[in-house]
């Protein structure tokens, strides 16, 4: 085969024409055949015709060839595109590895923001989004009474429950249960504190759950002794070692035997995760005419196709009927139907929104910082990019390359972010109050991790896109000539810093408001001395302490033993524990005073039954009269005490001491008021002191007050934890079957009540401090870069006579402009958004000027401090060498 002349090959090079090529190729075929035929003896014209005929449809063949070339070319391009991306990724990895410090900085910065966001998203996902673990949970509702006093979550009376259930058509089923409460498990091993809920058999049908072992209780179980129950999966595993033979065993709860029918499935946590046991509450035990004991929670499942609004309308109508039928009980009562999920999450929705806002702001700050780092790096690389451009890489190709680098960083950041989230989530769960609804649902799951990856990619590409676009438009000539690219990046960088400062300010203001609110709470006067007070709660079973003398005997012995305990200053007891937000309340009549209520009694107030020495041990001042003491026992004249708030409210100018009150009604029996004590914030620190009554524990067996709390005063500075262990031993000595429900210092008990607020403060504070640090680092980085870029200009200024002070002032004023811009934007955003915090704040305005000013000042000082170092470096620039560069 001989070679084609050189020029022809190059002609093709300049004028690619595939169609002509194909034609030429096929024409050659035909001509060769014709030549052969001529050799065989045909005349040239006939040979040409025959060859053409033999060849077949040349035009069709050419179209086919062209089509094949087109199809195959696109296929090949696609394959090559993937190969290119592989190349981009390799190149990106090399570029990342070349500057590991930069990559690590970007990754850590983004990881902090992503980690915080991921942790909070796990909470959002677990608490707000994940459906409740019941069958078709979106059709479950809680039905409450709506009291004339305006409480739309009032528990329901058995009479109303029975009538609602019988008359409703929009609910296919209804069930009811009592509020969970503590019982003591005895018999096998240590006495244990368990939480039970007494539920009607229909409750489980409404929820649509089936047991993982055994069976549920049904209405027919009431025909036996009715003492049947099902236990939680967790209790089955921890207390009974997941013994499959547990069924039909007996549990002794508060001295009563109960038969285990089944084990509920894992994760069944109704109404909350604290409940271990569900006991049969037979509906036949309800009194249909009882409309006074409002103590049932009612659950309903609405009919397929019915809406909550329709259910509400129907229940309204039914309740209106009931009001007409039973006016003496039902006057002004209404009904409230709420979707179960919304009702569960309602108390924490604002907390979660606050945390999500905080995490998002932190992510914004992190993105700003990462953006600046990427921009700085991109500018440093503009020569490299320009060289690539000159070598033929198109703008699209360069942008893609830079974006792939961003994606590689995004993946690294996502990985590191998940690690951060893991740690943050553990801290969050450790801090979270136990009563946070759906706490058990919070975890890092694939859904959340998917979000993390998406957010990582979106945020990294967003912050990486701007530098990439700018670089792709870099003027090749000027970039190759010098390393500076002018002022265009300056504005972008400045914008990022302003954004960071603004976001940090918003978070710092939020955290500052919470801290300020805490400070106010810390200085609240409790009205007693919570420091050094140890509270021990237990439950005295009625079975073994059936009557007043038996109980009194136990209390007396306990108080005596505790009082003589080494290191204990004083000991007493009360029906209520400090920090208990729902103390029992009682209405009462006052002799000689007319109540506005038809019952003749005044509105209910908390009543504490207390042991002798209560007020002195607690440190509650006695204002008038005498305190309850050892005289007030058994058949001695019945007495009571009031606090100042109650005295002011009901006696105003008169002296309550010497007047008489009665709990049963205006007919007595009467209790003589013997003294007035100071007000206390017994329930919660952030609630105003309530009007309160005190009666002697040892005088009357209070049927409704079954919780007891021993209160022990320790001398100042003694660590209560050591005493706690010996108190535990002492109680066991007195009664080995008695479980201690709770043992804590009074301060801890309040802390529990404040856990939600503390969670918000700690997390938001943590986010804010992280944001502040990132923001300061970001500002420092930007100022350093700016000074480096302006080196020449600064050199010229200095050569022209600018002093060091002038240069310092110039750099600082540039930083100051950015900081001020950030503070201005941040203040506006903060003022508009701190309303979110209102429910978390205590006596602190969401636009508290002091907090705003302090945070702005802090940012200004920290920001200028960060700018000082680069500013001083600017003053050391040698004018001559700077100009020569």
């Amino acid at each position: 085969m001989s070679r084609e002349p050189l020029w022809r090959r190059y002609a093709r090079f300049f004028r690619p024409d595939p169609r002509a090529d194909i034609d030429e190729e096929m024409q050659f075929h035909i001509d060769e055949r014709a030549r052969e035929l001529v050799t065989a003896g045909l005349d040239p014209r006939a040979a040409a015709a025959k060859a053409r005929e033999e060849f077949g449809n040349a035009a069709a063949a050419r179209v086919a060839c062209e089509a094949i070339r087109t199809i195959e070319t696109t296929r090949v391009t696609r394959v090559r595109a993937w190969t290119d991306i592989g190349q981009d990724i390799r190149y990106a990895l090399r570029s990342v590895a070349r500057r590991p410090a930069h990559a690590v900085l970007v990754t850590i910065t983004l990881a902090l923001g992503l980690g915080a966001t991921t942790a909070i998203l796990s909470v959002v996902n677990g608490v707000l989004l994940r459906p409740l673990p019941y069958e078709a949970p979106e059709r479950l509702a809680w039905v409450y009474e709506w009291s004339p006093g305006g409480d739309d979550h009032n528990p329901v009376s058995p009479g109303n429950y029975m009538d609602w259930k019988a008359r409703t058509r929009s609910f296919v089923a209804m069930g009811a249960h009592y509020h969970p409460y503590d019982v003591t498990l005895t018999g096998s091993g240590e006495p244990d504190r368990l939480v039970v809920t007494d539920a009607t058999p229909s409750l489980m049908t409404v929820l649509g759950v089936s047991p993982s072992l055994g069976r549920l209780f049904t209405a027919s179980d009431a025909s036996g002794d009715g003492q049947v129950l099902v236990i939680s999966h967790a209790l089955w595993k921890t207390r009974f070692g997941a013994d499959p033979g547990i069924l039909s065993q007996r549990l002794v709860l508060d001295g009563q035997p109960w038969t285990i029918l089944g084990v509920m499935p894992e994760g069944f946590a109704y109404p909350d995760a604290t409940v271990n046991i569900w006991r049969l509450q037979s509906e036949s035990a309800f009194k249909p005419d009882d409309r006074r004991s409002h103590n049932l929670a009612v659950v309903g499942r609405i009919r397929d196709g019915a809406t909550f609004a329709q259910a509400q309308t129907e229940m309204d109508a039914i309740t209106t009927q009931l009001v007409t039928e039973y006016p003496q009980f039902m006057k002004d009562w209404r009904v409230n139907v709420t979707p179960m999920h919304a009702d569960i999450v309602a108390p924490v929705r604002s907390l979660i929104v606050i945390l999500l806002a905080g995490a998002t702001l932190l992510l914004v700050v992190a993105c700003g910082n990462a953006g600046n780092l990427l921009l700085t790096r991109a500018i440093a690389r503009s020569r490299e990019i320009a060289v690539r451009g000159a070598l033929g890489a198109g703008g699209y190709r360069i942008i893609r390359q830079l974006l792939v680098e961003c994606l590689v960083l995004a993946m690294l950041a996502a990985l590191a972010g998940v690690a951060v989230a893991f740690v943050a989530l553990r801290a969050l769960l450790a801090l979270a109050p136990e009563d946070l609804p759906r706490l058990e649902q919070i975890r890092l799951d694939p859904v959340v991790l998917g979000w993390t990856v998406i957010i990582a990619i979106v945020s990294t590409v967003l912050v990486g896109l701007a530098p990439a676009l700018r670089l792709a438009r870099v003027d090749l000539q000027s970039a190759l000539r010098s390393s500076t690219t002018g002022d265009r990046h300056g504005r972008l960088r400045g914008g990022l810093v302003i954004m960071e400062v603004a976001a940090s300010l918003v978070m710092l203001v939020g955290a500052g408001l919470l801290v300020r609110s805490f400070e106010r709470l810390r200085r609240v006067d409790f009205g007693y001395e919570p420091g050094g007070l140890l509270a021990v709660s237990f439950n005295l079973p009625r079975t073994r302490y059936p009557d007043a003398p038996a109980q009194f005997d136990f209390y007396r012995r306990l108080q005596e033993r505790l009082g003589s305990f080494p290191g204990v200053t004083a000991a007493t007891g009360s029906s209520d524990s400090p920090g208990d937000t729902h103390p029992m309340t009682f209405s009462f009549a006052i002799q000689g005073k007319v109540s506005p209520n038809p019952s003749g009694r005044f509105d209910p107030v908390p009543m504490h039954a207390v042991m002798p020495g209560y007020f002195s041990t607690m440190g509650i001042p006695l204002l008038r009269g005498r305190a309850i003491d050892s005289r007030d026992v058994g058949d001695a004249p019945a007495v009571a005490m009031v606090n100042q708030a109650l005295a002011k409210q009901l006696w105003s100018a008169e002296d309550p001491v010497g007047s008489h009150i009665a709990f049963a009604g205006p007919e007595g029996p009467w209790f003589e008021v013997v003294g007035i004590v100071g007000d206390t914030r017994m329930e919660a620190v952030d609630a105003e002191p309530r009007p309160t009554l005190y009666t002697p524990w040892l005088q009357k067996s209070w049927r409704w007050l079954s919780w007891q709390t021993a209160l022990i005063r320790l001398p100042n500075g003694v660590d209560p934890s050591g005493t706690a262990a010996s108190v535990r031993r002492l109680v066991t000595e007195l009664d080995p079957d008695l479980a201690i429900l709770h043992l804590a210092t009074a301060e801890d008990l309040y802390a529990e009540g404040q856990a939600r607020r503390r969670l918000a403060a700690v997390l938001l504070g943590g986010f804010a401090v992280t944001a502040l640090v990132l923001g300061i680092i970001g500002l420092y980085g930007v100022m350093t870069t700016t000074v480096a870029e302006r080196q020449r200009e600064i050199g010229i200024r200095m050569a022209l006579g600018a002093g060091r002070g002038g240069v310092l002032a110039m750099v600082l004023s540039q930083a100051g402009q950015l900081i001020l811009g950030g503070i201005a934007v941040g203040t506006i955003v903060a003022a508009a958004s701190t309303k979110l915090l209102t429910t978390m704040l205590y006596q602190t305005s969401p636009v508290d000027p002091l907090t705003f000013v302090a945070v702005a000042a802090l940012l200004a000082v920290a920001g200028l401090g960060a700018a000082l170092l680069p500013a001083r470096r600017a003053t050391t620039i040698d004018p001559m060498s700077a100009i020569r560069e």
Binding site: M1, E4, E25, F28, A64, C65, E72, T73
Partner: protein, 111 residues
């Protein structure tokens, strides 16, 4: 055997082209001549069908094409099998053998 020459299936022509090119670098006409001679005229291939086949193989990187001059000094497109082409031929040949065997077994089984 049948008196009528057999017409060639689409994929089979690709196989035959690759086989022809293991012999030597050839232009289209030479490839066709080789196939006809080797088949002793028992295969009916339309000349026009050869070219889509050649271009497809080229685009897939199984053969390479280059313009050159023929024996009588005409511009012609010469094809050469690539390493990928040899690999494809080996694989295709193997499956062709199995195909023939299986079809034969089915066709010749007792009715």
């Amino acid at each position: 055997m049948a008196s009528q020459p057999l017409s060639v299936l689409q994929g089979t022509l690709d196989l035959l082209v690759l086989r022809a090119l293991t012999w030597d670098t050839m232009h289209g006409y030479a490839i066709m001549r080789w196939i006809r001679q080797t088949a002793d005229g028992e295969l009916e291939v339309e000349d026009a069908a050869l070219y889509p086949s050649l271009h497809r193989l080229e685009m897939r990187g199984l053969i390479e094409a280059e313009w050159g001059l023929s024996e009588n000094n005409r511009r012609a497109r010469f094809y050469k099998i690539t390493a990928a082409g040899r690999r494809a031929l080996r694989a295709e040949h193997e499956s062709w053998r199995r195909y023939v065997k299986v079809v034969a077994r089915v066709m010749e089984s007792e009715a």
